[in-house]
């Protein structure tokens, strides 16, 4: 799972180009609204019907800041990879520190990506 500024999808080939991959937001104060941004998720080894849930949580105490849930999706080929490019709108962030994007498939935890929110230093 990667966080980036934008994802460009080539129309004919469906290839994805991730632009501006990052793991830290630099903000002047909190609370602060971050984004918009994109989350790119690529998974394999799934078969059947799934509801995916993406949570943005505060790392230290698991406070949920935002949550996204898909409708049910059917994946047929376990050996193929599938991609989820997800555009995220601006989200209000309550405090500085570590955050985590957690991905669940049918409420089963399958992975995470850590992102940090730091104060802008200097002028």
């Amino acid at each position: 799972m990667l966080v980036c500024d934008s994802i460009i999808t080539e129309a004919q080939t469906n290839k994805k180009t991730l632009v501006g991959v990052f793991d830290t937001w630099h903000v002047p104060q909190t609370p602060f609204t971050i984004g918009p941004f994109w989350v790119y998720i690529k998974m394999t080894d799934a078969t059947g019907k799934y509801i995916f849930r993406l949570k943005l949580v505060v790392l230290d105490n698991e406070k949920v800041v935002a949550e996204a849930v898909t409708r049910e999706v059917e994946i047929k080929d376990r050996l193929s990879a599938f991609e989820i490019p997800l555009p995220m709108p601006p989200i209000p962030i309550p405090e500085f520190g570590g955050y985590e994007l957690q991905i669940y498939a049918n409420d089963v935890y399958v992975g995470r990506s850590v992102v940090n929110v730091q104060r802008i230093v200097g002028g």
């Binding site: 934008s6 994802i7 460009i8 999808t9 469906n14 609204t33 984004g35 918009p36 080894d45 995916f52 993406l54 790392l59 230290d60 105490n61 698991e62 406070k63 949920v64 800041v65 935002a66 949550e67 996204a68 849930v69 898909t70 409708r71 999706v73 376990r78 050996l79 599938f82 991609e83 989820i84 490019p85 997800l86 555009p87 995220m88 709108p89 601006p90 989200i91 209000p92 309550p94 570590g98 985590e100 957690q102 498939a105 409420d107 089963v108 935890y109 399958v110 992975g111 995470r112 850590v114």
Partner: protein, 148 residues
């Protein structure tokens, strides 16, 4: 309030820039792929309630972060906090993981489970009855991953 798909501006590059979500507000997006996401901002009040209630003490683990292994059945994990350390445990095989937060503890546990699986597999012929039982329980949850 729900934003319908028609309300969202889509750029020629396919990017979507909805207005910022506010507490309790829901948006619905349609992607180029087959996934339709409904996004909700959790209010700070709701977040405070979560803190009072505490994060879930158990969850189901679907990934042991070892490319050689596949989780067949989600692994039930208990998570407790002991001082500044989080402890994740898989009681069926008596394995533990430790970390400074829940996710670190989960990752440590996942590595321990994978290491145990391969350790028992390597010594399969010499296992006593207790360890054969542990191996059997692990086999209910894990299997070697297929490859093309």
């Amino acid at each position: 309030m729900t934003t319908t798909i028609d309300d969202i501006q889509v750029s020629p590059a396919g990017q979507q820039f909805p207005r910022p979500i506010q507490e309790g507000q829901q948006h619905v997006y349609l992607h180029a792929g087959p996934f339709l996401f409904e996004l909700q901002a959790v209010s700070h009040t709701a977040a405070a309630n979560l803190e009072i209630q505490g994060a879930p003490a158990s969850l189901l683990l679907g990934n042991v972060s070892d490319p050689r292994l596949r989780v067949r059945v989600p692994i039930p994990v208990r998570i407790v906090r002991e001082g500044n350390t989080f402890v994740a445990s898989f009681d069926a095989v008596d394995e533990f993981g430790y970390g400074q937060n829940r996710s670190e503890a989960l990752e440590d546990l996942a590595k321990s489970i994978a290491a145990l699986y391969f350790s028992l597999a390597a010594q399969n012929e010499r296992l006593g009855e207790d360890l054969k039982s542990v191996r059997s329980r692990l086999d209910q949850y894990l299997e070697r991953r297929l490859s093309r």
